[in-house]
């Protein structure tokens, strides 16, 4: 039987050819937007020596997508990245020479060491059970990594959970000794380590009434024995961000000092192993903040005085000394606040960069200070660079690397992170590269069709003189020879538009956007949670345009725009250029939430409301002053409109013109809106209807008509609906000429429920999946699935009458077979064959909507998945495959034939064979030929979108998550175009050969005939 399936598989395999890889598909790997909230995760330059003596520089960064990544400083390509699991957040990383060490998980549960040039994992150690990790706020509090000083290179000191220090071996990750604070319940939280050759200092804070008190412990690095420990009278209000230990690697004899800010004064304390010395105060000014710019090991930091000017303070053997004040750095309306950042050059000398934005010049400016230059007096070099604030928002973080090629000359490289999630590299005033890392955080995306290319040349003038027309046509005729040559070549070689060819436009053409022959080229419009909207060419993944969302009134207080839904409100079929509406929630920093709509042209990104310039930020329209409950696209004859429901269930329509309002009123009586209601823990599904009458506010207000409570052990986890695609056939003709009619109730919604998040996790908790008639709340299909320790990891997709869901089964029940399962369910009308009920047209009040027969089968799935989606084609005739993003970072397709719930349990009879049914086999084959993403690592995929092409056979697949991946699939092969393997040259040669044979044979035959006449 297996053999039969395999042969069948081979027969219908539509696998990739290697020459198609990278041509019909593309993949853009990302690392994610850098984590900026803590110095221990934000981007930093790292220079490591290679074996040949050369050194190469990378930018290391931990990201919001939970990835540790290194970019090549030269070209911005990803040198390597390491993906961390979703429940194992990176909380700190530290680099040294050829390794990078990370701490991740609650309280720093996992410790890993990576090779810094290639990203290989060198060792992985679990320091404590993640469940016993202490969650701190911020996450990085209570954890730290420090490398041993010069002679004791093999040591790494790791502080976790705020009270445990371990010395580990750098090569093996083996723990040499561990020390735990004696009183773990005390209020002391350790947070910093400073390793000196003879002593390890631990710096912590003790919480007292209004402020924190410093707590320091010194230990022996060899044995881990405590030398001394104690509290030091201090009152720190701002937490650990303004306490740090200074030391000087270039001057190891200088004792390290603790520096903190207390009531406007910088206080410091000399660290000796016995912890006996007095604190001193830096005199001269009142300070607002002090900032560790990453040079604490070089004895430098930046202090800001109360007028905003920045001063560099340096550790000297005599104590702390202000060595520089940045000129014009006082707070001023002409410029933004300064960002300070420290870096080192190849020789290890420290540099401090100050970056700020000048409002008047609309340029960014950088000043780089080098303390060791100009005979130790300090040297500042400055430059401005044209940062595009309209495209990338504002600069959030700067990392700097400097070089000193000749005396009095400093070259600086700046790695910027912007508020829209871009990472940019500037070398002086030149932009070296820019990466749109915000694309790793797409919230909503749509594929938008492109208009046809304009072929014929039209004359605009109706009254064209005869001679002018002749002249124009003659001019047009100059292309004719080329056309003729092309025609002949096309005819002979068969180089027609191919379904396996790239549809990307050739380089350096300035043609307007247009679709290709088969409609494979579309525009992907994607909105990220970093406030940016992108138009991406689906042919090659290039960004066509991008817009930054404007904050409206919230620009005064700051805020964030979170895209919720995206609708295509005008397509090319409607005649004009396509348009897209993005429904977003604006969360202002003062706590107000509004619903804002952005309306753009999908081809250019221009504001379709003509309210904002194309170079400026995109301005939206506040449609609801309050949060959004749900948004829908209303399709009417008059066009498409967006309907939003606010928290009072008022109905808002966009655009608010009369046409849309009338269209809404016409459709109101048939609207049935199921919504998730109730407080968390008692969520229920409630159906709503909208009355014809408007309230005094001028809006319709939806009212509840039915309610579906779930058992108290269940809470709604997800609601999914059927995609609105065309249905080609309403029934399925069986082998015995009877018909099963598909159950196509338009109100059908799927609900996944699980144990409430408040309930304690237990293995007995169960998850459920329901199919509910959204018109009246009837449960059409229900099944209970096992949960994994109280978590429901159920992925489901509904298309036409077909429901597919995936879950992990760890039930120690029958036969104890645990594994991933996928269940395929099909719903048919009535209670048997030929029982036609017209479910797609039934009124939702009809009783017949509950007359359903269910066919289902479960299969063993090869592995876990992240998401699944069915393919979609323009007419819905083609068989629908299921596309999954699996945990192997692959995008894989599973053919409908294997998932058919009617696969017979015995050898197929002649009738079943006629339907192409194959015998049931519980194990779904894991076919690597159906891995659409082949060699690409498509990581952390959150969603897959499928979209029809013009060819009925082909469906476009776009996956987003951390990476972007695009390809096209033909579930039933490309039946509507000539096969790729069709050999036109062979046909032409055969015909030519036959013609030649005729030409040769004709005179021979004629001669023979003639001879026959003569001699017979």
């Amino acid at each position: 039987m297996r053999l039969f399936i395999l042969s069948l598989l081979a027969a219908c395999a539509q696998a990739l050819h290697s020459y198609e890889a990278g041509v019909t598909d593309w993949h853009k790997p990302f690392a994610g937007v850098p984590l900026l909230h803590s110095d221990s995760t934000s981007p930093v330059f790292h220079r490591s020596k290679r074996e040949d003596g050369q050194s190469s520089s990378v930018v290391l960064s931990a990201t919001q997508s939970n990835v540790l990544a290194a970019y090549h400083s030269v070209n911005g390509s990803l040198a390597w990245r390491h993906l961390f699991e979703d429940d194992d957040n990176i909380i700190a990383f530290e680099k040294d020479k050829d390794v990078v060490a990370t701490l991740s998980g609650p309280g720093g549960a996992h410790f890993r060491i990576f090779d810094s040039t290639a990203g290989y994992l060198l060792s992985e150690t679990r320091l404590h059970d993640p469940a016993s990790g202490r969650l701190q706020e911020p996450e990085s509090l209570g954890t730290n990594v420090a490398f041993g000083s010069e002679e004791k290179e093999e040591n790494i000191f790791v502080l976790t959970n705020g009270h445990t220090l371990r010395r580990l071996d750098r090569r093996t990750g083996e723990v040499r000794w561990g020390w735990t604070a004696p009183d773990q319940t005390s209020l002391v939280v350790y947070s910093k380590i400073r390793v000196m050759p003879s002593t390890v200092y631990l710096l912590g804070l003790t919480k007292s009434f209004a402020s924190y008190t410093l707590h320091i412990t010194s230990l022996s690095p060899e044995t881990g024995e405590v030398i001394n420990s104690g509290d030091y009278p201090s009152s720190i209000t701002s937490g650990l961000s303004e306490v740090f230990i200074l030391s000087d690697v270039n001057n190891p004899d200088t004792n390290p000092q603790i520096v903190w800010l207390e009531e406007g004064a910088i206080k410091s304390f000399r660290l000796t192993p016995d912890l006996k010395s007095k604190f001193s105060v830096v005199k001269g000014a009142v300070y607002k903040t002090i900032e560790d710019v990453g040079l604490s090991e070089h004895g430098q930091f930046v202090a800001t005085t109360d007028d905003g000017s920045g001063r560099v303070v340096k550790l000297t053997p005599e104590g702390l000394k202000v060595i520089w004040e940045f000129s014009d750095s006082a707070t001023s309306p002409q410029r933004s606040g300064s960002i300070y950042s420290g870096g080192v050059d190849v020789a290890g000398f420290p540099y401090i960069a100050r970056v700020f934005w000048m409002h008047s010049l609309r340029l960014a400016s950088a000043h780089v200070f080098a303390a060791h230059l100009a005979e130790g007096k300090g040297l500042v070099t400055g430059f401005t660079f044209p940062f595009k604030t309209g495209e990338h928002g504002v600069i959030r973080h700067v990392a700097v690397e400097a070089a000193n090629p000749e005396p009095y000359r400093v070259l600086a490289r700046l790695a910027l992170t912007t508020s829209t999630g871009a990472v940019q590299m500037w070398q002086q005033d030149q932009l070296q590269w820019s990466r749109e890392e915000g694309l790793a955080d797409i919230r909503v995306a749509e594929l938008v069709e492109l208009p046809e290319p304009k072929i014929a040349s039209h004359s605009d003038r109706d009254q064209e003189t005869f001679s002018a027309r002749v002249a124009r046509q003659l001019l047009d005729a100059k292309d004719f020879p080329q056309y003729a040559v092309n025609f002949v070549r096309r005819f002979v070689t068969g180089s027609y538009a191919s379904v396996s060819a790239s549809v990307a436009p050739s380089a350096n053409t300035s043609e307007p956007l247009s679709r290709d022959a088969f409609g494979f080229r579309k525009v992907i419009v994607a909105a990220t949670s970093h406030g940016k909207l992108y138009g991406i060419d689906s042919a090659n993944g290039e960004i066509l345009w991008s817009r930054v969302f404007g904050l409206g009134w919230a620009a005064q207080v700051g805020g964030q725009i979170v895209p919720v839904k995206m609708f295509v409100t005008r397509t090319v079929i409607d005649g004009d250029s396509p348009q897209v509406v993005v429904v977003t929630q604006r969360k202002a920093n003062n706590g107000l939430v509004d619903t804002v709509i952005f309306h753009v042209d999908a081809l250019t990104g221009d504001d379709a409301r003509d309210k904002s310039q194309s170079v400026d930020v995109l301005q939206g329209e506040d449609i609801v002053s309050g949060p959004l409950v749900e948004a829908y696209l209303l399709r009417t004859e008059a066009g498409r409109a967006v309907v939003c429901l606010d928290e009072f269930l008022q109905v808002h329509v966009y655009p608010g013109n009369d046409e849309a309002t009338h269209a809404l009123e016409k459709i109101l009586p048939s609207l049935r809106i199921p919504l998730r209601t109730g407080p968390p823990g008692q969520r229920r599904l409630t159906g709503h209807q909208v009355p014809q009458q408007v309230e005094f506010t001028g809006k319709h207000i939806a009212y509840p008509t039915w309610s579906l409570p779930f058992p108290p052990t269940e809470d709604i986890r997800a609601i999914f609906a059927r995609p609105s695609g065309p249905v080609a056939s309403f029934g399925k003709v069986l082998g015995n000429r009877t018909t099963l009619y598909k159950y196509l109730n338009p109100n059908l919604v799927g609900v996944v429920t699980g144990p409430p998040s408040t309930a304690p996790p237990s293995d007995s908790a169960a998850c459920s999946i329901y199919l509910v008639d959204g018109g009246k709340g009837t449960i059409i299909y229900h099944t209970v699935l096992p949960s994994v320790a109280g978590a429901c990891d159920v992925k489901a997709a509904l298309v036409e009458n077909w429901l597919v869901y995936h879950y992990y089964d760890n039930e120690v029940g029958v036969n104890q077979a645990k594994g991933h399962r996928v269940v395929s369910v099909e719903l048919y009308e009535g209670y048997g064959v030929d029982d036609k009920r017209r479910s797609s047209e039934l009124s939702s009040l009809s009783n017949e909507t509950t007359a359903v027969s269910v066919y289902e089968q479960a299969y063993i799935f090869p592995r876990g998945i992240r998401t699944l989606t069915p393919t979609s084609t323009s007419y819905g005739i083609t068989v629908k495959d299921i596309i999954v993003a699996n945990e192997n970072n692959q995008i894989q397709s599973f053919p409908r034939r294997f998932l058919d719930p009617r696969r017979p349990k015995q050898k197929p009879t002649a009738e079943e064979a006629e339907e192409w049914l194959i015998q049931y086999d519980p194990v779904l084959p894991d076919d690597s030929k159906r891995v659409l993403s082949h060699n690409y690592q498509v990581a952390k995929t959150r969603r897959i979108i499928t979209s029809p092409a013009l060819l009925e056979s082909t469906s476009l697949v776009f996956a987003y998550g951390l990476d972007l991946f695009f390809t096209r699939v033909a579930p039933s092969n490309t039946f509507d175009v000539l096969s790729e393997s069709f050999n036109k040259p062979q046909l032409v040669i055969t015909i030519a050969g036959l013609a030649l044979a005729i030409a040769v044979a004709k005179p021979i035959v004629a001669r023979k005939r003639l001879r026959e006449r003569w001699y017979n």
């Binding site: 990739l16 050819h17 994992l121 104890q816 077979a817």
Partner: protein, 232 residues
């Protein structure tokens, strides 16, 4: 103040009720010669709650595994590894490792036990592509059907000259045989295959040129059709 490491380990293990660190390594082989080829990979138990990353030297450790029966699998992008069944016991004894086939019940363990620490090696590498059927003139003429056709064409061209140079006696014999052959051919065409074959057997000499042509044409025709079917 310093707590010995053993004590620390003990306290941490007390927290997670006698858990075991499952150790093993990946044996590099021809299919997967090193970490460069393998990329970022992890070894997971069941659905990935317990897991361990594969380090540069191929070693992995899954920390803190409580007693129970688990299915161990390797999550690697390009390589296929066997699944194993691992039984971890409450007592101090080492975990038992057995081969496991997906979908088979866990209630009846296989009698084969594998050594611990676990040693895994790549069984195969994913092959994502199908080879391209390219056009090749030489290959086209190496097709038996094409060769027959060419042979037939050459014979057609050469036949008149051969006939001219033949002895009248041989010519007579040849004509006789040709008549027989045409009879056989008509029998074949009318569907009387047996008759055709008997006639063919009767007319011993297979050297006849025309018979070769017709035989070649029919058989190659069938071949061509089957070939096409295969491709589809």
């Amino acid at each position: 103040m310093r707590i010995p490491l053993a004590l620390l380990a003990l306290t941490s293990s007390c927290l997670s009720a006698l858990a075991l660190d499952l150790k093993g390594r990946i044996q590099w082989n021809d299919r997967c010669p090193g970490i460069d080829d393998l990329g970022q990979a992890k070894v997971v138990l069941d659905n990935g709650k317990h897991r361990g990353g594969v380090t540069r030297d191929g070693a992995f450790t899954i920390p803190g595994v409580p007693a129970g029966t688990y299915v161990l699998s390797v999550v690697a992008h390009d390589h296929i590894f066997e699944q194993l069944r691992v039984d971890v016991y409450e007592s101090e004894s080492l975990p038992e490792v057995r081969p496991y086939f997906p979908g088979t019940p866990l209630s009846s363990p296989s009698s084969v036990t594998l050594p611990y620490p676990i040693v895994l090696s790549a069984r195969a590498k994913h092959d994502y592509f199908v080879p391209r059927e390219s056009f090749n003139l030489l290959a086209m003429f190496q097709n038996p059907m094409m060769m027959m056709m060419l042979g037939a064409g050459v014979l057609v061209l050469l036949m008149p000259t051969m006939m001219k140079n033949m002895d009248p006696e041989v010519m007579e014999e040849f004509n006789e045989r040709q008549a027989k052959m045409s009879g056989m051919q008509s029998a074949l065409q009318s569907g009387d295959i047996m008759g055709g074959i008997t006639q063919m057997l009767a007319g011993e000499e297979p050297k006849a040129a025309s018979s070769g042509t017709s035989k070649g044409a029919t058989s190659s025709g069938a071949k061509q059709r089957s070939g096409k079917n295969k491709r589809r």
